[in-house]
Subunit: 291 residues, 2 copies
């Protein structure tokens, strides 16, 4: 373990507060005045999280959408966001995209900070939400016998990224303007045993959910929904690519989801491997690792 | 108006939510479950907000302290912080300083995000607090006849910065490890008509308070507390330098502060100028302007 993983582990050692779950589980949970506050902070860096030259309106949208996706995975109702913004060369487009996203998701901008920097443009967003159901869905509640579901296909963001990288403007929507599953998250929260959003790749995030739940998850490769335009040869790429922001969740036996979703696997007693694809543990890269 | 000011104005135009006061007044105020949540987000950039080569432990301390100072100015009790961290070359020292600050102020790290960046190290911190008194102190409540106070001297951070820039290790504490006036802020909140922390220079921040209150403030230059080590010739520099994080506040006539503080002026009916130093409006630079 080195670099970012070591840093996060050291940060986690600081987080002794019982409310502090944010560094392990994407969101922090804080009880306040009878309400349960859900908090998340995500950063984006030029050239790392978006392409140099990409439309800053799309970057603003994605900054909002990825943070709201974390709230969606907790079944939370967004209360507002705070923006940390490094001034750049296309601030006007950023503001336009930010306004579009905030209006679309009906979320107020509560405050923030802007700075000048001689270097790479770096953005941060803090999103606050209020839990609509307790217990708050987490990654750790899946039990053997549960079914595993996903709210939509994976791979569309990958195709969008590839189109954008090739200079296309069509078919880039899934990558540039992801839509967090806020309505689905709130509807599912009372039913699920575990839930998370898929940001780093279906295989990797499923393994994380299985490990957090001390279980094994067996995925049926033929049941995973893929975009109609995906060439069959790209199926493996699609399930290890991130940025789709669908919800991955588990349901008790016999429970059906209350929104469109595909059953993609089952939860088993923990075996030798936390993740099976078909009948074998998948080999190679599972997704985007923060190494 | 251009650059950062224009960007902030455009952001403010997005902040139509009645709870959104953050971009105009440093902190956002959000009512939730009978509690009043105070939120602030401040960023720091290498080479802009700290010296290249400066001890990252001090940078971490200051990142925490400056955000908590915003909470102090609202009389808020800190609930926790979320960190946005760009990995750099001295992450271990950062963690050490972060732990020192969080332990010192008894504030939990709730969550956050870490990223890799090819460029300048950029940090963000979101601090959450709970108001201890309502109405929340703001910049806009000063009334003619009120007295104007400050919790401590200005200029020590400037001397510390100059010592540090010259390669000294002694006498740098005020710049490197500012202490937010949390206890004082909570004690003063029920008494003040207006309050803010001084981050950008006493003259500039006093003018902001006067303008927000639609009043004129007359400061007595001989009453402003300065560090004993400050050469008399540097008095003007001291009152236009920032980073001291003392609290500036106004009290109704006849009210005395409940913590050590110096009376430095009086609030007048708004005249031709929002700020008088002695009997005349100060000329030249008043502080650090986010131009």
């Amino acid at each position: 373990m080195s670099g970012e993983a070591a840093f996060v582990a050291a940060l986690q050692a600081l987080s002794l507060h019982p409310a502090a779950r944010g560094l392990a589980d994407d969101c922090a949970v804080l009880e306040l005045g009878g309400k349960t506050l859900i908090l998340t902070h995500d950063m984006m860096v030029e050239g790392v999280h978006w392409l140099v030259g990409q439309d800053l309106a799309d970057v603003a949208w994605k900054l909002v959408a990825t943070n709201l996706s974390d709230l969606a995975s907790k079944g939370a109702e967004p209360l507002g966001v705070l923006l940390g913004y490094t001034l750049g060369t296309d601030d006007t487009r950023f503001i336009e995209g930010l306004a579009e996203a905030l209006n679309h998701f009906n979320v107020p901008l509560l405050g923030g900070d802007t700075v000048r920097s001689p270097g790479t443009q770096t953005l941060g967003l803090t999103a606050l939400g209020c839990a609509t159901h307790r217990p708050i869905p987490s990654r750790s509640g899946a039990r053997p016998g549960d079914t595993v579901w996903i709210t939509g296909p994976v791979g569309a963001a990958m195709l969008g990224f590839e189109a954008l990288s090739a200079g296309a403007t069509a078919h880039t929507q899934a990558y540039c303007r992801p839509v967090p599953r806020l309505v689905e998250g709130r509807a599912l929260a009372p039913l699920v045993t575990a839930m998370m959003d898929i940001s780093d790749g279906l295989l990797l995030d499923t393994r994380r959910l299985a490990e957090a739940s001390a279980a094994t998850i067996a995925l049926d490769p033929n049941a995973i929904p893929l975009p109609p335009s995906l060439p069959p040869s790209r199926a493996r790429d699609a399930i290890t690519w991130g940025d789709d922001y669908e919800l991955l969740f588990t349901l008790p036996p016999g429970t059906q989801p209350v929104c469109p979703a595909s059953q993609i696997g089952t939860v088993l007693i923990r075996g030798d491997h936390p993740l099976l694809l078909g009948n074998a543990p998948p080999e190679g890269r599972l997704g985007y690792e923060h190494s």
